[in-house]
């Protein structure tokens, strides 16, 4: 039981971070970013290159992942999403762009890093063993703490800084924010960069545990969509709640249902559909998005 809770917290923290970036971009731009999973994979590969290949300190690698993805996110917003949103007659057109972007990032990753599974050396050794009730490697605990720390930092950033306030205003009502003197174009770019940075950060964190490979992007995006749906699209607290709920469901499912074969995710999907049929806006979302 304790082990399941520990696994749940560990999975939930990392999932919440993935969902945060996706929901931030959605709230600001109304863009369903299909490429979020690929951004996560790219972040993992940057950390792999700098920490695993070049042997530089892990912190440097993590920062490099964040910066790379933030710059990439800003460029993508400025040169791709911005113009398309301005010019297309239906806003769904951004979905084609996002899907194209997912393919493009997949292609870039394939060319730069190949399709093999890559791992990095452990950051810390050893395993916590509390009376055989909770067994968890120290590096997982460290990553979990780092993830929680980042989430807290992100929330305080959104809550207390000027940029954060501007972003929240933008998410609430684009036109009203513009009328109040918020530079919409600039803050859209910052917001997109921030969302991409979160994807890069979590990629950099998780590469130390699960390793990274090309095929992880798509499934990660789907998981992120699910978390966002559980919590409600475009709501930050919802993304965190969704991440934690999915993490716990997965931990419980793997522990309880493992003897019935691989049906955990099937059950999660089905219960999600039933849940959404009853409450379409998710836990904390605005009705009808």
């Amino acid at each position: 039981m304790e082990q399941i809770i520990a696994n749940g917290i560990y999975l939930g923290a990392q999932y919440a971070m993935i969902a945060l970036g996706l929901t931030l971009i959605f709230a600001l731009m109304n863009v369903l970013n299909f490429a979020h999973g690929q951004m996560y994979v790219l972040g993992g590969f940057v950390t792999y290159t700098i920490y695993g290949q070049l042997g530089l300190p892990y912190v440097v690698a993590l920062l490099a992942s964040c910066v790379t993805l933030a710059v990439l996110g800003a460029l993508i917003e400025k040169f791709l999403f911005g113009p398309v949103i301005r010019r297309s007659s239906r806003e769904e057109s951004t979905m084609l762009l996002a899907a194209g972007l997912a393919f493009l990032l997949d292609a870039v990753i394939l060319l730069l890093f190949g399709e093999k599974q890559r791992g990095v050396p452990k950051i810390v050794d050893g395993v916590l063993n509390w009376d055989f009730r909770i067994i968890m490697p120290y590096d997982r605990i460290l990553i979990c703490l780092l993830a929680i720390l980042s989430i807290v930092a992100f929330i305080s950033f959104m809550q207390f800084t000027k940029t954060g306030r501007a972003l929240r205003a933008l998410a609430q009502d684009r036109v009203a924010a513009q009328l109040m003197g918020v530079n919409v174009e600039r803050y859209s770019m910052i917001g997109f960069a921030l969302g991409a940075m979160l994807a890069g950060l979590v990629g950099g964190l998780l590469v130390t545990i699960t390793g990274i490979n090309l095929g992880m992007g798509g499934p990660t995006s789907i998981k992120a969509f699910m978390m966002v749906m559980i919590g409600g699209a475009g709501v930050i607290s919802g993304a965190i709640a969704g991440g934690i709920i999915l993490g716990f469901m997965e931990a419980i499912g793997l522990a309880v249902l493992s003897q019935y074969g691989d049906i955990t995710y099937l059950l999660i999907f089905v219960s999600l559909m039933i849940f959404l049929a009853i409450r379409p806006q998710g836990l904390m979302g605005k009705p009808w998005g």
Binding site: S93, A99, F103, I263, G289
Partner: protein, 327 residues
Amino acid sequence: MTQSLKMLINAVIFLVVLFVAVPVLIAASGRTDFYFTLTSVALLSIASAGVWLMFYIGRINIGQGAFALIGAYVSAILVTKAGMSFWLTLPLAGLFAALVGVLIGVPILRLKGVYFAMISLVLTQVVSLTALALPITNGAKGITSIPLPDELSVLGVTLIPDFATLENSRLAFYYTACILMVLTFAAMYRLVNSRLGHICRSMQQNEELAASIGINIAYVRVIVFAISSFFGGIGGAMFGSIAQSVYPSTFVVTDSVNFMLNCFLGGLGYVFGPMLGTLVLYFGWDLMFELGRFQLLVYSSVLIMLMLVLPNGLLSLKLPRFAGAGK
């Protein structure tokens, strides 16, 4: 020249190209592998047509792969386990997919915008995982060595010969797929220009307003979703029959996304958009095979460039041939 006469001529030209010119050209060039490509294009465009119809009522359906997979499995199971004729299972596969569409659609069609898009994306995954878990679908091993479609005869008259006895089954598949595609798009055109089509368009623009003038929007939504699923089921069943095998990975999330991309690429405002979009997307991918490891890079770059230059789809170029046929 009147509008309808112009359209009739266009339609005749299209049919002649499809059924006469293409086979003649392929026979002349000896590239019989194109048959498989074109057959796939025809079948995938049927499934894409369903997605387009959902766009027409203002819903983004990224779950068409689920219905294609359901159709493929229903047909495969009925042919291999119950020994039914393929031609009987084809409509059954479509109807079963439509039934599933109705059952799922009643609760989830209330969702709008990205909410519906995301849940339909999850739907593909659900069906794939169900196929892995159920015993009747044979799990990850899938259903293999499905026999080719057999003879269809009514009152002793052979309408469709047994595909296994034909010397060129590729050509037979090509014709079958093209006939199905023509029927699908004719039905779509008829639908869009009917009363139901006008209702759908009003729903795309403003559902509340449509409801306020007495349209039962919940009913229309489910009907359209059922038609969309039917197209998906038919396309999937035929695809399974050509590949002679069905696996849980025959249609995955990527395929669902591709069906959506086909519609976008062709143009959401045009009935024949999904057909053109599928042709360009599928053929483009195939042609870029020569590029080797740069295939995906070039393909996705072209996709993004197209999006930047023509955000409203290829048909928004207003080619003279399509100008009258759209909308």
